[in-house]
Symmetry: C2
Subunit: 318 residues, 2 copies
Amino acid sequence: MTRRGASSVPDLVARARDGEAAAVARLITLVETDSPVLREVMAALRAHTGRAHVLGITGAPGVGKSTSTNALVAALRADGRRVGVLAIDPSSPFSGGALLGDRVRMGDHALDPEVYIRSMGARGHLGGLARSTPQAVRVLDAAGCDVVVVETVGVGQSEVEVAGLADTTLVLLAPGMGDGIQAAKAGILEIGDVYAVNKADREGADRTRRELRTMLSMAERPEGAWRPPVVQTVASTGEGIDGLLAEVDRHAAWLAESGELARRRTDRARSEVEAIALAAVRERWERAGGSDLHALAERVARGDVDPYAAADEIVAGT
Amino acid sequence: MTRRGASSVPDLVARARDGEAAAVARLITLVETDSPVLREVMAALRAHTGRAHVLGITGAPGVGKSTSTNALVAALRADGRRVGVLAIDPSSPFSGGALLGDRVRMGDHALDPEVYIRSMGARGHLGGLARSTPQAVRVLDAAGCDVVVVETVGVGQSEVEVAGLADTTLVLLAPGMGDGIQAAKAGILEIGDVYAVNKADREGADRTRRELRTMLSMAERPEGAWRPPVVQTVASTGEGIDGLLAEVDRHAAWLAESGELARRRTDRARSEVEAIALAAVRERWERAGGSDLHALAERVARGDVDPYAAADEIVAGT
């Protein structure tokens, strides 16, 4: 435990479940920083998780992710639901992870005790998001959030990651962000459960929506599969946000009815467990032979050994 | 070996080194598909690698990456250099990896025997790009390419990956892709060695360049460190491309003189070896207990066990 406050893990979990924001924040810090008590925290949270709906929000820079998250949080609060928000920022040397303070990002909700907001840096290392975000989601889930929103910058790999974390993945687009082929290149067509064309008051919004629908309709989906809806929003004014939330809720209901929720969560748990186990193996290598690894890498870089042969040496030493 | 052609690995490598495009293509397929002869291929390539300069090109969708790659390839060819291009597409259900044929993407160079072009799908799985792209780079390197261009869609995680692969990372921006804060959110400020504001004939290009320079100048860099230049280009007309290439070459020269090239390549080899070794461990888990892993994931999803305790079970069984 941290010395300040001197709370035990069970005590922190109890306070988080009572809705104490400081306890929630402390627990997220503990899971984010690979604290020595991480395992104890995870064990203590276990019995209280699985209730929250996890909504991933992604899209290219500039589509209005923060504004849309803000508007969705307002709609969820108007509906009386408790909300957690995890905003993932790729690490930046200028920000140390989170570029803007939470209050700046989510100014409308900073003082609402039923909304937990947390910026998480991906810390530059590959798979960092994959490793600590699920644990932070568990904290917010255990703290009684009805919905946990995971907002991530990015297109490509990190999008695939957020889709892996979420029960429902919302993909945002905006008019004029490039044509349909660009959208497809960004790999977004495979991951969305719900699509929103934001900035729908701008020129080209109808075209973007039409193109997106056409491309989505080209995918072969089995009978009974979910067909991702496309809605239009103007997040800055709140226009279309209630409709968007209705589609998210409809998807949540479909997930539960179809059995897909259990399947997704099992897949997610599997990736999570694998990621933790792989990290443990990697740490063992670092501890056991950090300098060996460096010497081996130098030999590979010089062309004295090929990378597969080098990897065999490491695995043999596991 | 594949039955068609019935070439041995040493024969394929010899033919690739002689500049035979079909042999290069076959070798890339072998390393991309985790073929049983992958290890043999890597061992055979080892002695012939380390000469090519690896240029990573990245940026958000719509900035003109393919057009810029095309223009840079033209400039490199005009200079008499042999070029390899790896275009990374996140997998898409609509494309099976590569959305457009190589000829469509890089039409100007499709018939030039001194240019190898290959689209690679990231195959949806995490770390897929990290695993097979370095091997494909080695194939092109061994085939005598002076420059290997790795063009990747994406912002965020996959950008960090491309920076990990490249000797020189070129980050493209375009005017009107969102303000400076958006650029910083996308994590691009930490990875570029050279920046180009493409579509410099459009409104806002000067502002984008100015903002970018200001943000770059805020980073603390030690004495003697490389200071990333910002150039302006109109890739569609070729304007500014020679100047861009000159900056890339200047960076290549700096890398060699400063000793940074060896350091980067050692770091890269280390990540590569670790990724291969981790994949081997993971495959061992799958083979040894794929169904155990699924049962364990179901228990985690149901909340019967926490993910860290589950991971301990797997690691203990390694």
